[in-house]
């Protein structure tokens, strides 16, 4: 396999994994476990986070778009689709930005992305609801997602190492 093929293969794999993780999460972790409405751990972000580190902007955004569209195709729920699309895009943009600044570790990148996810969701909830009071959910959602972001980073570190080693992603390849 040359570098490009390997990259494309890994990208497809990451897309599939992110989709699988977002579906699996609802099966593994019941939503009722958390007191904050709309909150999820966001396992799918493991794939997004790693792709930010190994692919960069466009491939990562592509994964987010494909994942949200696929989940929409399965669920058919337009409201949930809008929330996850806007939340997902906000998260990946902030992850990319924080990654690029290079001052933050994967923990900061992940926590920032998770925080952006909740801000993005609230941002889209306000026009849909026509109601500013939705902002009242932001603190709880934000704090919960920062914690989740750190957890996701913790999980991602060994996964990232494994992926880099296994696919021999090294500078210049």
């Amino acid at each position: 396999m040359n570098g490009k093929t390997r990259r494309l293969t890994l990208w497809g794999l990451m897309t599939a994994i992110s989709l699988a993780l977002s579906v699996a999460e609802s099966a593994i972790v019941p939503a009722a476990l958390f007191p904050v409405p709309g909150f999820r751990l966001g396992f799918a972000n493991i794939a997004i986070l790693i792709s930010v580190y190994i692919f960069g902007a466009f491939p990562s955004i592509g994964i987010v778009l494909i994942r949200t569209l696929s989940v929409f195709a399965f669920s058919g729920n337009p409201t949930v689709f809008l929330f996850s699309l806007c939340g997902g895009l906000a998260a990946v943009s902030v992850m990319l930005a924080l990654h690029r600044i290079r001052r933050f570790s994967i923990f900061g990148v992940s926590a920032g992305g998770a925080a952006a996810h909740s801000v993005g969701q609230i941002a889209v909830a306000i026009p849909i609801a026509g109601n500013v009071s939705v902002i009242g959910y932001l603190p709880a959602l934000l704090w919960a997602s920062i914690a989740a972001g750190l957890l996701i980073a913790l999980i991602s570190v060994p996964v990232y190492r494994a992926v880099v080693t296994f696919f021999r992603f090294r500078p210049g390849q």
């Binding site: 692919f55 990654h99 690029r100 290079r102 570790s105 909830a125 609801a129 939705v134 990232y160």
Partner: protein, 169 residues
């Protein structure tokens, strides 16, 4: 997001051989994988950012739609009174009178209730305080219905975890 654009300028050293970003950005440096001081500062900032709605939240609620819920009294299908219900709403009272006598409803930030009714069965008064979107208190003799509605059109669990569409009773 302007922050991101600003930092583009600060980081001109980023090796941008491939503008489509197909080449890994991280390829010329080893990514930081352990928690550091900047991460800690970022998290502090994010946690503090969560407090912003508390600062604005108490100042903002001026329109009815700024509240999550509204109490509405209808008599024979006609709306005669409405009052926002939620954090920051003022206590309010309304008296409706007809040949049946008088009916007094009250609302405060925690809900709304029929405080007095001249009707014989007192079912409406017994119903007590209603506070959740979808709940009703009905007085048949007055043909009056006190109802809590979400000002928010999405009564999904996402926005209104306690929102319901009807009560079986």
């Amino acid at each position: 997001m302007s922050k991101e654009n600003g930092n583009d300028g600060n980081a001109p050293k980023a090796v941008d051989r491939d503008p489509a970003g197909a080449e890994a950005r991280g390829s010329d440096f080893s990514p930081r994988l352990s928690f550091g001081v900047p991460d800690f500062l970022l998290i502090i900032v994010l946690v503090m950012a969560g407090l912003i709605p508390f600062v604005f939240g108490t100042l903002r609620a001026t329109k009815e739609s700024d509240f999550e819920k509204v109490a509405i009294l209808t008599v024979a299908g006609q709306e005669v009174w409405r009052c926002p219900v939620g954090n920051g709403s003022e206590p309010s009272e309304f008296t409706y009178s007809s040949q049946e006598g008088i009916l007094i409803v009250r609302a405060d930030k925690s809900g709304a209730w029929v405080a007095h009714s001249d009707c014989p069965d007192q079912i409406c008064v017994r119903t007590g305080k209603i506070s959740r979107a979808g709940q009703i208190s009905v007085c048949i003799p007055f043909r009056a219905v006190l109802r809590i509605e979400a000002t928010n059109p999405i009564s999904d669990a996402w926005i209104h975890p306690d929102g319901i569409d009807a009560v079986s009773e």
